[in-house]
Assembly symmetry: C2
Homo-oligomer: 172 residues x 2
DNA sequence: GTCTATATTCTGATAGAC
DNA sequence: GTCTATCAGAATATAGAC
């Protein structure tokens, strides 16, 4: 999927990759949808693990540096695997809807992110929405126009500073 | 395509929509790829037309209001047709590459956009990149999480103000 | 210019032998 | 748990009648 996109992988291709016939995969998953669902869940579990690698700064004055680090973790997580990014954040498999089980992991990941942004003073819904829009925008521009490069990745720090300035300037 | 996504439309479906058998379409286009290419080109022509609906403010002091209007035009153009948005700005048809002819229209559209942003003081490449990333981020969040709604659309004005502030504060 | 008929290849999925 | 054999239907595309 990483090379050819989300929808490009057939059961036959997948079977060949893991050294099996396609039919044998049905001993592990009842349908292709179930495989997508497992990938969705696993992706969000990986996301939770990635978020937790941010060293939490004890000093509040370091909030800005920590915010940049949080943004970098998110950006690198997304650009490291564009198929995973599409699956988790762009809902781009036609007809795919995660199971309640898998969706619960996604909700947990969102709440973990919100909790982290709150530490940087980003609490209001509109500020959260502007943060996520900016971050996903940087990621998708990077993936679409400079895959493997750093053109938008280098804009992360100015973007975070800009967002924090905006949040501070625009209180409740 | 608007209802089911870019990759979902087959030649059979398309033929049925226009009251033909799929095979008859080959009298008009030599392949499905050629149809995608025509749509790509037409989409960028529509984009050029949309950009030109922005009333150009004579007074430079109105740059901010005009910038907001430019952003709104872009946002509304994208969210009005998510399939077109994917085709033009997310290159999401696997294996599709526009012909040189169609690509030239896309380049013209990009240059028109850059020319407009220059009027608002956005000239440096990094400032342009941050603008486009923020705008496409707002659009894709709107499409993915609140289709048909206004949750991210209402963030356009604060986002433009934030971007212009950042640009002014960060000169060459 | 549109049709029928068809070629070819691919898809997800099932049945049943071993 | 993996295989062969197979199904039923989808896909893009071509040939040729009218």
């Amino acid at each position: 999927m990483r090379s050819d996109g989300l929808a490009a992988l057939s059961m036959r291709d997948l079977g060949a990759r893991v050294g099996m016939k396609a039919q044998s995969l049905y001993s592990y998953f009842p349908s292709k949808h179930a495989i997508h669902d497992a990938m969705f869940r696993q992706g969000y579990e990986e996301f939770l693990a990635a978020i937790d690698t941010v060293d939490v700064a004890v000093d509040v004055a370091d909030a800005r540096a920590e915010a940049v680090r949080t943004a970098e973790i998110f950006f690198d997580f997304c650009t490291a695997d564009s198929a995973r990014y599409q699956l988790l954040f762009q809902r781009s498999i036609p007809g795919f809807a995660p199971s309640p089980e898998a969706y619960a992991v996604a909700v947990a990941a969102y709440e973990r992110t919100v909790g982290r942004l709150r530490r940087y003073g980003i609490e209001r819904q509109d500020h959260l929405d502007l943060w996520t829009a900016t971050m996903t925008g940087l990621v998708s521009q990077q993936l679409a126009n400079d895959p493997g490069g750093r053109r938008w990745r280098d804009l992360l720090e100015p973007a975070v500073v800009m967002l924090l300035d905006h949040t501070r300037k625009d209180p409740t």
